[in-house]
């Protein structure tokens, strides 16, 4: 158990998503001899170097062969191992998509597919390495639980919850080093349960992954202009916490989803699918990455370019609310 305090949250933030994922795995391994961690030759890039050294028998580099990695993970899971299979988001969610479908979806093997560096955190490595569409693909597969934790503390909580969770899961890690902290003290985390972070009656911001922090910054900016925003961390994209969403929608005139994923098929779509049939459905603005392979640069530059920073989100929310009034 890794204790969450303002100090550890800052330390973890510097380590970033991958580093803290490796630490979280290391931390749970002690109590889980049935744990196996697989990598398609990206162990060190996935923060797993210390795990490899400490638990060499519970680590397997399957070679640069993600499709086989998912099948091997399923075979191990079938015989009672709890398996974490790791790679970069597109290499799992798309390169090995059908292996995920057959083994994790169809056969419900107890494999946690972990997508390192999803969203646009890979920056200058380019679109080949981005997780732009991974949620859309993974969310469409039956039986798969899809989780996208907000910060390093939430990654720890997710890993702890995933080890205890008997079933297939896609864990999407967004953010890089210096991942801003959202949680600085212990908090209740349950797969499938959204976490309300701020309460305000003028607009509801629903976010996942790195965009939870951005939504909080946007809420700050909106507050300065007298707009009170609710913010919820919808870390589980599937199954979506419909009850939390309904409760939020009942309190606000408009919802805004914010995600580091294309606006097609991700959190915005999941929310829209949930609310579409409701007779008094709330207005909804879906913010995310454009449906494009954009020119790349450093991560922070790209977030600015895509308008996925607090002030830009706040501005778009204000514009959306103004439209509503006229």
């Amino acid at each position: 158990m890794m204790e969450i305090t303002p100090r550890t949250a800052r330390q973890w933030s510097r380590l970033g998503s991958r580093g803290i994922f490796g630490q979280a795995i290391l931390s749970v391994a002690e109590d889980h001899p049935e744990l196996m961690v697989l990598s398609a030759d990206l162990g060190n890039s996935s923060g797993l170097d210390r795990f490899k050294a400490a638990y060499p028998d519970q680590f397997l580099n399957t070679g640069i062969a993600e499709q086989n990695m998912i099948g091997v993970a399923a075979g191990l899971a079938k015989e009672g191992f709890t398996v974490f299979a790791t790679s970069f988001a597109p290499f799992i969610a798309m390169r090995a998509s059908e292996q995920v479908r057959m083994n994790l979806g169809y056969m419900e093997m107890n494999v946690k597919a972990v997508a390192i560096g999803s969203g646009i955190a890979m920056g200058l490595l380019g679109n080949s390495h981005f997780g732009l569409e991974d949620v859309a693909v993974m969310r469409a597969i039956p039986n798969l639980t899809v989780v996208c934790p907000a910060d390093c503390a939430a990654i720890i909580k997710t890993v702890e919850a995933a080890v205890a969770f008997d079933g297939p899961m896609y864990i999407r890690l967004t953010g890089a080093a210096n991942n801003p902290p959202v949680y600085t003290e212990d908090f209740a985390f349950q797969i499938g349960r959204a976490i309300p972070l701020r309460d305000g009656g003028d607009v509801g911001l629903v976010a996942c992954g790195t965009m939870v922090h951005v939504a909080l910054r946007a809420a700050d900016a909106l507050a300065e202009q007298g707009i009170a925003a609710s913010v919820i961390d919808m870390h589980t994209l599937k199954p979506l916490d419909g009850a939390a969403l309904d409760a939020l929608a009942a309190r606000v005139p408009a919802l805004v989803t914010v995600e580091e994923h294309t606006v097609i098929g991700g959190l915005g779509s999941a929310v829209a699918e949930h609310t579409a049939a409701q007779p008094d459905r709330v207005r909804h603005l879906a913010l995310g990455l454009r449906d494009a392979f954009v020119k790349t640069g450093q991560y922070e530059y790209m977030l600015e370019q895509e308008g996925l920073v607090g002030p830009a989100v706040a501005e778009r929310v204000r514009a959306f609310l103004r439209e509503e009034r006229t």
């Binding site: 062969a65 091997v72 015989e79």
Partner: protein, 275 residues
Amino acid sequence: MAAFMRRKILDVSYTCGLTAHLGGGLSMVDVMAVLYGHVLRLDPKTPRWPDRDRFILSKGHGVLGFYPALLAAGLISEEVFATFQANGSALIAHPVMNLDLGIESSNGSLGHGLSMGVGIALAARKKRAGFKTVVLLGDGECNEGAVWEAVMLAAQLGLDSLTAVVDHNKLQSDGESRDIMQVGNMAERFAAFGWHALEVDGHDIDALVTAFDAPAPAGRPRVIVAHTIKGKGVPFMENDNTWHHKRLTKADHEAALAALTARGGGEAAATEDAP
């Protein structure tokens, strides 16, 4: 057992009234008879017995060679067998994982089974369990690149409790394999990847038994390349790829049974000991 299985294949294909993968089902019958009659350690009374040998039908369309073996081995009943391809049945045109019926995995999409077999064999080693893992592949299926990813890892890990069997009937959905994707010598290809490779006439029961029983070198996975004939046992289906996936009419059914009987295999009982 092989003769019993062939008869069952023809009967159930006819009674279900639908198209079925006859050619590839018939080509693997003798291999399956040897596996389920001789090689695999299974307990039909305890289908989930932890130490049972694991069999994965990677060429998932080969169910017509699989379900009759499960029937002959006592893992499924005649009643269940008779539901083949009925609406909502547990026995459809590709295997659906069902441990109580002896079906270890869901397949249908090609090139998945060997990866799972590698994971199972690795798990057996880690748990110090004594069971074997056998994966049946089609030769057409070996067009899939993921097969070779698994082949490489199995050799890298030295998984000697893993056996792959290739049903090498030289035909695939659209025609002759050599015209579609050149394979060269299948056994040599596996050997080049570090596997212990054997070649055998896939319709010679004694030769198959000898191959499966032969001592294999430690530290290497093993492949048995079974040279087979698609549609084997029914003369008008043999090497005729129109029977890859086709419906059996009443006349076809009668003619096929007559051909089986003429070859002396049509009346064999399920209870015979030898495969």
